[in-house]
Amino acid sequence: MLSFALKRLGVAILVALTVSVITFSMIYLSGDPAMALAGEAATAEDIANIREFYGYNRPILIQYLDWLFRALQGDFGQSHYLKTDVASVIFERLPTTMLLGACAISFALILSIPLGVIAAIRPNSLIDRFALTIAVVGQAMPSFWFALTLMLWFGINWRLLPITGTASWLNFIMPSIALGYYVTPGVMRLTRAGMLEVLASDYIRTARAKGLRPLRVLFKHALRNAILPVVSLAAVQFGFMLGGSIVIETIFAINGLGFLAWESIQRADLPMMQAIVLVLSIFYILLTFLADMINAFLDPRIRVT
């Protein structure tokens, strides 16, 4: 288990380093960063000053290492637009996005696991068809359109829920549904497939033959095994969700990381953009690492491969 964990950790760190290189090289995508910062009216002297000030005249490798070591210490530099410390702004906004992500994934799991289980107990029944329809429809719905439609009906036409901001928990209902709905098809399909496979296995037949109560067989014996892949999918999807929250947060004007990312992109605030991409990527890497560990802990067969 320990050697497996160390191996995975090594890969995770390598991936994180590669991501940091990609994130760093973003500043050179638009050509000369000093020229982009200076704007169109700048003189050659201005550009040289900016180059000197931000250290763009050093060798690229030195610039990268400098940036990396500062980032490792939690220093992502100064925001070009807000003129404040990038890290403090990010950590101010992060909890809102985490809360939204947690609500969204809870909504998705609460909706999709029971539906998946019921669909697997009665394959090809009405409920199975209904679940399948939800899955197919959910995968085809553009998230921003779904969010706007929710807003239109629940916020404007029926006046049930507040449409923007984060004033109370009511504000989180629509964004969570809009963000979480997109995850439900995958989780539901995986639960259904896992349950179908497990329910057909010998040990379930044995458990039933022993005369255990059907519900006990279902939850204690079947679901516990079928839920394993769902755990890692949920972890992965949570990571994707934080990235995808940029759309939802922009629509509902939720002051989280996604909205910050969108604002920074609008303002061409490079240090902020870089930091957000890096933070979200590292968070995703951490999540998948944890999911791997949980799976390896629960299922010893994984540790060998």
């Binding site: 991501v19 995508l29 085809a140 921003f144 439609t149 934080l242 991409v277």
Partner: protein, 306 residues
């Protein structure tokens, strides 16, 4: 299939055929699959609309007539609604139906082109990893993990904003970002067949590696490839819509569906149809492609349905 006793096509009269030919079985599976038929029909209609947009459109997608702005669609019960503009006009007085028709071109083109790019990258990586295994597999796995840890929408938005937005930038950025599923599926499909007898036979005959990959492996993973290709095309279309919605995809005055929703966002409380119509169009297109993909998977590999 109403009458299953009809002898399969291709059989001579008088033949007693108990088992339908493979072709007939395939046809029966295709036409028995409602999702596949619906998906293919809707996709065909949208493709037709896109191809002949200039012929069947009632107007010009860029023509602004400010005196005729915000005319509601014909099902709205107001005297303003007119058959001149069946789906009404937008805030700049452009005919909405025309823009919807031309928007189909953009969605299909971006979806298809991005899918091609990602398909080439993902299939190459996946097949190489599956065929060679070992170190190659490790390297591909590493690239894949790195790619998966980058948040797609965020990176796409950032890159597009830094390079500057255009149709081709959007296509390349999406194509370079969404190859992951191709790689995963192609890798496992290749793994499944690389140790089968016909591959070993080709190796024993001294065929070159390229020949084995191209003429022994590729034809046998083609059905998986088509299924992933449809799903990824749908994915690319959704992403393009999201990018355009956020203002960093297709730029005005082009009639991208995502951009149409974005332009109508401020008016949604008064003129909701302006966001409902283009949103429904994206939904219909993506749904059709997904149904087609699921249908192809069921038809070519019915044993994998569950």
């Amino acid at each position: 299939m109403s009458d299953t006793t009809i002898p399969p096509a291709g059989g001579r009269p008088g033949d007693v055929i108990l088992e339908p030919t493979p072709g007939a079985q395939l046809r029966r599976r295709i036409f028995g699959n409602t999702g596949l038929i619906i998906g293919a029909s809707v996709l065909l209609i949208i493709f037709f609309v896109a191809a002949f947009a200039s012929v069947i459109s009632p107007g010009d997608p860029y023509d602004q007539v400010l005196s005729r702005k915000l005319i509601p669609p014909i099902w709205h019960d107001t005297p303003k609604a007119t058959w001149d503009h069946p789906l009404g006009t937008d805030a700049l007085g452009r005919d909405y139906l025309t823009r919807l028709f031309y928007g189909a071109r953009i969605s299909l083109f971006i979806g298809f082109a991005a899918m091609l790019i990602s398909g080439v990258i993902g299939t190459t990586l996946g097949v190489l990893a599956g065929y060679f295994g070992g170190r190659v597999d490790m390297v591909v796995n590493f690239i894949l993990t790195t790619r998966l840890s980058l948040p797609v929408i965020l990176v796409a938005l950032a890159v597009v904003s830094l390079i500057g937005s255009s149709l081709y930038v959007v296509i390349w950025v999406l194509g370079l970002l969404i190859w992951d599923r191709f790689a995963v599926v192609m890798r496992s499909a290749t793994l499944q067949i690389r140790n089968l007898e016909f591959v070993s036979a080709a190796q024993a005959l001294g065929c070159s590696t390229w020949r084995i990959i191209l003429s022994e492996i590729m034809p046998n993973i083609g059905n998986h490839l088509i299924v992933v290709a449809t799903l990824e095309m749908a994915h690319a279309i959704l992403l393009e819509a999201a990018l355009s919605f956020l203002g960093l995809g297709v730029q005005p005055p082009e009639p991208s569906w995502g951009l149409m929703v974005s332009e109508a966002k401020g008016l949604m409380f008064f003129d909701a149809w302006l966001i409902t119509i283009p949103g429904a169009a994206i939904f219909a297109l993506v749904l059709a492609i997904n149904l087609l993909g699921d249908g192809i998977r069921d038809v070519t590999a019915p044993e994998n349905r569950n």
